[in-house]
Structures are given as structure tokens and as C-alpha cells.
């Protein structure tokens, strides 16, 4: 028998907070046992809670925390294939393999994500334009399906189930393990060039000129209107064996408590953006750094999400197709500045052309992610207005960041949803696997 404990869970945005009966299996056998104890109110896996909204939550249902299913099972140092359990993290992989000349193929902006979460959200990183998403580097996914059967799937074996699981937000079954192919690196260092970008057009120009870099991302100031709109810092990097200068290491900071909401308001956010933009005076700065500050800058601040206060924050991440005039991106940024809301951190990047079916987020075009303190109704109204712009441009939102999208808008953004749902239902006809997000968007059985 598993032990089930009442717990309140939330994602990285601290919004919403949902209660569930929670177990924490420590072996595949205990996961199977927990599935057998399913009580008909839904079951969902929860990793490290780095999805922002309600994708990892299941109000009133049963949730399995996967953090202790964290064993690395094998590694082939001639090919780079590593077989790992669901709860092994990007941190585990990076720390273990970077010193040996290997690195996870795709990493997000934090290393506190599990392998299963990476697959279920089909995460992307700064190398999407070259290397695609997490799913492009995975095979032999062991999935415990609703019937209790463990199905091994990948692009060759049971491809339908595999692609439904990629970006499938945990609604196709419980991921037990997978193989992920680590990539060889010349050394655990990154040669990074930071280009100061004057405006949106300049961003796209620099992006087009960055073909020689495997990793690109840009911080963008969303508080400036008019001529400087879209100014920011474009960071482009590639692996190198060259060591950074000695004596350079970043202090580790902690946000030990929920900051008062008033701390982050439009004025302080605008100030921050101005200071951050002016931080670099030269047009270009080249440096060698360790991989940590390049890939995971915010991990250096423990609990940075708590700086948004007890009401939490929401992230809005969109992708819109390429457009030489960048109308949608401009319209979004104008709507944000006009609303009086301000995004503390905003990131922009051009995706590559490799896409996956169903609910996987990336599409060719440009992605913009903005964090907003939770201001309640006015913020949600702004998001609704942004949805319209994104939808009209043929774009979509990242479900792993979402906490509020309407079902109709979602269906218009993801016309593939119906085919996905039908596939999901064939593997789970009783609707065992559910989530709060799935109920909201009509992706799973909805009774409460």
C-alpha cells in the first residue's frame, strides 16, 4: 500500500494552488502499486513543479511525486545514450556528465527539471534552431499506461503513443524511464558574445547573423515604447575548451521569504529594465564562462520566484510565425506597455523549423516569454487581449507556462487537440490520467 498524504501543490508561478492526495513512490514497483490504488478522481505525476501554472496540478485527485525515481541506469560512452529514470534532473545530468565531456542535448533556463517533465512539456532551449526539442534526443520511453501495462515507445516503436506523450503533459500515462542522448562537448565552458540590441529590427538582424552560434537567446526590455522598443541584450554562445579567467565565480543568493507584492511594480520594473539595459556599455562583449551562468542564470538565486510575493506570478509565452514586419510582436509589446503592466523578465528567441505533432509547443517563428506579478483581473484581461493578437497571427501559447487560457482560444491555437485527445483516449479510455489544466482545456475527463 502506498501512503497518500493531503498536500497543497503549485507550480513555479505559485498560482494556482491545488490540493491533492499525494504519494511519493521510490521505485517503479511503487508507481505501479499507486496506479492500482487509483480512486477514480484522476492521477497525475508531479516532478519538480517548474511548470508555471496548473499543468502539474490535479485538484482533488491523486498526484505522484516523482522526485525519488531518480536513478541513472546506464550510459554508453561511445554513443552518449544514457538510460535514466523519470525523476533524474537536468542538474543530475549536467553535474555528472559535463566534467566527462558530455552534456544534456537540450536544457531549459533552469536545471531543476526532471527528464519526464522535459518530455511531457517537450522543452526547448537556446539551441532549438539547430537541435530541436528534448523529444528529438530521446528513445525507449517506458510508459506505465492506464491498463497497468508498461509500453516502450519512441519515434519507431508505438510512435503514436510516443508523439502523444511528447508535450502530452502527463496525460497519456506515467513515464518511468527513457534514454536520452547526451552530446559531446569540448569542455564545460561557453564562449559567449553579448550584443547590445537597439530595437526589435536590430534583434532580428543580429539573430539572422548568429548562424555560427549553437545557442542564442535575448533578454528584451518590454517597458520601453517608441524608438527603443524591443531593445535588449542578445546572447549567443558556443561550447569551448577554453577556460574562463581564474577567480571568477558568482555568489549564490537566496530569496528567503515572500517579498511584499508592492516591491515589484511598474516603476521598479522599469528601473530594473533600464539599469539592466545600460549595464553593458559596449556594443559587443565577448567572454568565456562556465556553462552554469550561461544556461541557468536564475538558478543562482534560490527561490527567485518568491520575489513576486504570495500572490505569485504568471508567465505568458507565445510563438508567432515569422513576419518581416513583426506586427504581432510589436502589437503584443504595445498592448503590454499600454496596459500599465510591466514584465520584469522577458526573453525572445527565434525557433528553428523542426516541429512535433499534437501539443508540442515550438513552431517556426519567434517566441516571446514575459513574467508578470499576479495583479488579478487587470492582468488576466491583458492576457485575453494578447491571446487575440497571437491567435490572429496564427500563433499559440506554451501550455507548460499557462494557468488561464480559455478552452475556445486553446482549441483555436491548437487545432491538433482533437486528434491528440482521441489518441490519448484509446490508451486511457476510463480517463485515469487527468490534470487541472487538462480539465480546464478539455484534454481529459472532467468530472470532479
Amino acid at each position: 500500500m502506498s501512503t497518500w498524504a493531503e498536500q497543497s501543490l503549485h507550480g513555479w508561478g505559485h498560482y494556482p494552488v491545488h490540493g491533492a492526495l499525494v504519494a511519493r513512490p521510490e521505485s517503479p514497483a511503487e508507481v505501479a502499486q499507486a496506479l492500482r490504488e487509483h480512486q477514480g478522481r484522476g492521477l497525475l505525476a508531479y516532478g519538480l513543479g517548474r511548470s508555471y501554472g496548473d499543468a502539474p496540478l490535479l485538484e482533488g485527485g491523486q498526484v505522484l511525486r516523482t522526485e525519488r525515481l531518480d536513478r541513472m541506469l546506464s550510459f554508453d560512452d561511445s554513443t552518449g545514450w544514457a538510460r535514466i529514470e523519470a525523476g533524474v534532473t537536468v542538474e543530475d545530468l549536467a553535474r555528472t556528465f559535463a566534467p566527462r565531456g558530455w552534456f544534456p542535448p537540450v536544457v531549459p533556463g533552469t536545471w531543476y527539471v526532471t527528464a519526464a517533465g522535459a518530455l511531457a512539456n517537450d522543452i526547448h532551449g537556446k539551441n532549438h534552431h539547430l537541435d530541436g526539442t528534448w523529444a528529438d534526443h530521446v528513445r525507449r520511453v517506458e510508459l506505465l499506461t492506464a491498463s497497468g501495462e508498461v509500453v516502450v515507445c519512441d519515434a519507431e516503436r508505438e510512435p503514436d503513443l510516443f508523439w502523444a506523450t511528447v508535450g502530452g503533459l502527463g496525460l497519456t500515462g506515467l513515464i518511468l524511464s527513457m534514454e536520452v542522448r547526451m552530446v559531446p562537448i569540448p569542455g564545460p565552458y561557453i564562449e559567449v558574445e553579448t550584443v547590445k540590441v537597439r530595437d526589435l529590427d536590430h534583434f532580428f538582424q543580429v539573430s539572422a547573423e548568429s548562424g555560427g552560434y549553437s545557442h542564442t537567446v535575448s533578454w528584451i526590455d518590454t517597458t520601453t515604447r517608441g524608438r527603443g522598443m524591443g531593445r535588449g541584450h542578445f546572447m549567443r554562445g558556443r561550447w569551448t575548451a577554453e577556460r574562463p579567467p581564474a577567480g571568477l565565480h558568482l555568489p549564490r543568493l537566496t530569496v528567503p521569504f515572500d517579498a511584499p507584492n508592492a516591491l515589484l511594480n511598474r516603476a521598479t520594473i522599469t528601473l530594473f529594465n533600464e539599469a539592466y539595459y545600460q549595464r553593458q556599455r559596449a556594443a559587443r562583449v565577448r567572454a568565456i564562462t562556465g556553462y552554469e551562468p550561461f544556461f541557468f542564470p536564475l538558478d543562482a538565486v534560490d527561490g527567485w520566484n518568491r520575489a513576486y510575493g504570495p500572490r505569485g506570478f504568471l508567465q505568458y509565452q507565445l510563438v508567432v510565425p515569422h513576419d518581416p514586419e513583426r506586427r504581432a510582436i510589436r502589437a503584443v509589446m504595445e498592448a503590454v506597455t499600454r496596459s500599465g503592466m510591466a514584465s520584469f523578465l522577458a526573453v525572445i528567441k527565434e525557433f528553428g523549423d523542426r516541429i512535433h505533432p499534437h501539443l508540442s509547443f515550438p513552431r517556426p517563428g519567434v517566441t516571446l516569454a514575459m513574467d508578470f506579478p499576479n495583479r488579478g483581473r487587470p492582468l488576466l484581461d491583458l492576457f485575453d487581449r494578447l491571446d487575440r493578437i497571437v491567435l490572429d497571427a496564427g500563433g499559440r501559447l506554451y501550455l507548460g507556462k499557462d494557468a488561464r487560457l480559455s478552452r475556445d482560444t486553446f482549441r483555436a491555437m491548437y487545432p491538433e487537440w482533437e486528434g491528440w485527445r482521441a489518441l490519448r483516449d484509446t490508451w486511457d479510455p476510463e480517463g485515469v490520467f487527468r490534470s487541472s489544466l487538462g480539465r480546464r482545456l478539455g484534454l481529459c475527463k472532467e468530472d470532479r
Binding site: 501512503t3 497518500w4 498524504a5 504519494a23 511519493r24 521510490e26 521505485s27 514497483a29 525519488r68 531518480d70 536513478r71 541513472m72 541506469l73 546506464s74 550510459f75 544514457a82 529514470e85 543530475d92 555528472t96
Partner: protein
Amino acid sequence: MSTLILGATSRVASRVAHRYAAAGHDVVLAAIELEEAQALAADVRLRHQVKAVAIRFDATDFDAHPAVIAEAAQVLGGIDVALIAFGAMGDAARARQEFSAARQVIEINYSAAVSVAELLAAHMVARGKGTLIGIASVAGDRGRQSNYLYGSAKGALALYLQGLRNRLHKDGVHVLTVKPGFMDTRMTWGVDTGRVPVLSPEAAAEAIFRAAERGADVVYLPPFWRLIMGGIRAIPEALFKRMSL
């Protein structure tokens, strides 16, 4: 250097294995679930690039103990550190009605620990060195109505380790008794511990590793439990028997 972990698949035991492997020890991981021990061994090998071998170990199969210890000693080329981590809370209500259930709690937590400790003591005395670590419990510091059976077995183990420490001192073998309070494990998942903090297995493993390195005799995890149990032990029995703690 080398470490044997008996009952390796508990979360605290597996973190101790990782801690010693991080310090360069080869490890043998002994547990009743061989497949789980093998997965853990793979994990230890991959993360720390040391030798890690899983062997099957059933605490209540006393006759098999000598072979298990001999195999571990052979695989490791001598055992420098041994952790006795297996144990079982048991079902207190059932143990009151069926002696077989009570006996199982006693055998796993006490008799089996004595059996392997004597074998390990002999091995370490012969080598003239070694560290033997036993995990007892704060529950063994005073009998309480809710878990006195488990507590009595763990209390007996603590007393046994105390005597063994005394006996082995002259042979250069060190015995460390660990008395954990609440740790974040299967045993405490879902238990309401009120305001009492719960120790992470990683922190527990670090504390055990350091206590063994500095040659401590008895450690409470976390250390404040020494004060709590000191207070609880100081309550006069005439009063204590009326209380429900």
C-alpha cells in the same frame, strides 16, 4: 576505501552510499530487493565512477548472513565502513495480537542487526580497523505506548552497540550509533510532525558521514533530538505512565 550498506534501498541508506562513493569509496549495496539494489548500484557507479555491486540480503535469513558478509568483504577487498540501515516499523496493533508479527519486528530491528554486527566486528578486528555504523532511533530512548515494540528493539540495538563499542575500542574498530528523529522517508511520509522539522535524507547522510569521520560515538539527527529525548527521559515514570506522548 570501501563501504558496505546493509538495507541499501532505504532513502537514507542510499544517500549514505552516494556520500561515501563521492568520497571515493567502492560500495556494496545489500538489500532484500535485488533489482532495486542493482538500479541503485548502477546509479552510484554512473555518478561517482566507483565500483558498486548489489547483493541480495534478507535480514531475517540469519543462516545466510555469514555468506553475505564474506561476499561483500571479497568484492571490496576488505570492509572499511559498514552501515546497518535495515529496519522495520511493523504494525503495532497487529503485533499485540499476533506474536509472529512482534517477533518479526524484534528480529529485523535487533536480532538481525546483532547477527551482522558480530560478523562485521570479527572482520574488522581481524583487519585491526573499521567503522561500524548502526541506525537506532530516538524511539529507543524511552518506551511509549504508541510504538514501544519497535522502540524496545531499537533501544536494545543502541545498548548492544554501546557494549560493542566498548569491546572493540582496543582493537581499533569504531562503532557509531545514529539516533534519528523525523527524517523525510517512506516511514514519515504523510505523518504530521507538527512543528518538528523533518531532516532530508541528503542532510542525514552528510551528518552520518561526518560523524563517522570525526569518530563520534552517538549522534542524534538532527542534534536537537538529544535535548528533546533528554527532557523526555527526565520525566518521572510515575508521571510518564499517565501521559500520551
